[in-house]
Symmetry: C2
Subunit: 132 residues, 2 copies
């Protein structure tokens, strides 16, 4: 249950890395979008808005792959395969503000739309592959 | 049959963009790796080595997603969903050398292993999504 991410890759979660998140469409085909990414030491955290394709896909099939490419060395990367362990609205607003701090240097997430509800997916990592 | 990629995104194929390629594992779960990418005006071209996970996955299920993030603007990206139209060894050695020119500024691909056989996957784009 749950693979640990090697500490030598911690920097990829500290830098402003735009991770590639692959989810599965309802027909089983893959979809990839760039995302802000976080890691709490146990789960990889993905914060999105309720009702988006990612949200729909992850509720339909919990299997994901997250790939982080080192922006300073494209021949160094981390690939994490796993599945959603939890979907929660709790703390999602605070968390997206934290992410805005990391990625934008702003205290409050500036891209929210009227009525948007944020949601966190906690992803349990089952397989770690890496290069570099 | 086949979507055209908007010309405004041609630069993403001219720059040294490391695309994220999502394929499907035999159990249907997604896998993502960073790849060198090419576009011949009709097909998106992926060059890999025979026997690699990508090669196995694409022969098992032709459905893919390729995402190109602008290295100069992470809020600009192109997402291409489609499927393998052709798998061929023809011209694959010349093509990987061309890619080495683009990505490394070298005339000959330097990372080949003894006995390695290169293969090109020609991907027909069925759906284009983009931001920016």
């Amino acid at each position: 249950m749950g693979q640990t991410i090697p500490e030598k890759f911690n920097d990829l979660f500290e830098k402003r890395v735009f991770a590639s998140l692959a989810t599965l469409m309802p027909d089983g085909s893959p979809q990839v979008t760039p995302i802000w990414i976080d890691y709490d030491g146990q789960y990889v955290l993905v914060n999105t808005a309720v009702g988006r394709q990612k949200d729909k896909n992850l509720q339909h099939d919990p299997r994901v792959c997250v790939m982080l490419l080192d922006p300073e060395n494209p021949y160094r990367y981390l690939e994490l395969r796993g599945r959603v362990a939890e979907r929660t609205l709790d703390g999602a607003d605070q968390h997206i503000n934290k992410m805005a701090g990391k990625y934008l240097g702003q205290e409050v997430y500036p891209f929210g739309r009227p009525g948007e509800v944020r949601v966190i997916f906690k992803i349990a990592v089952e397989k770690v592959s890496s290069l570099g």
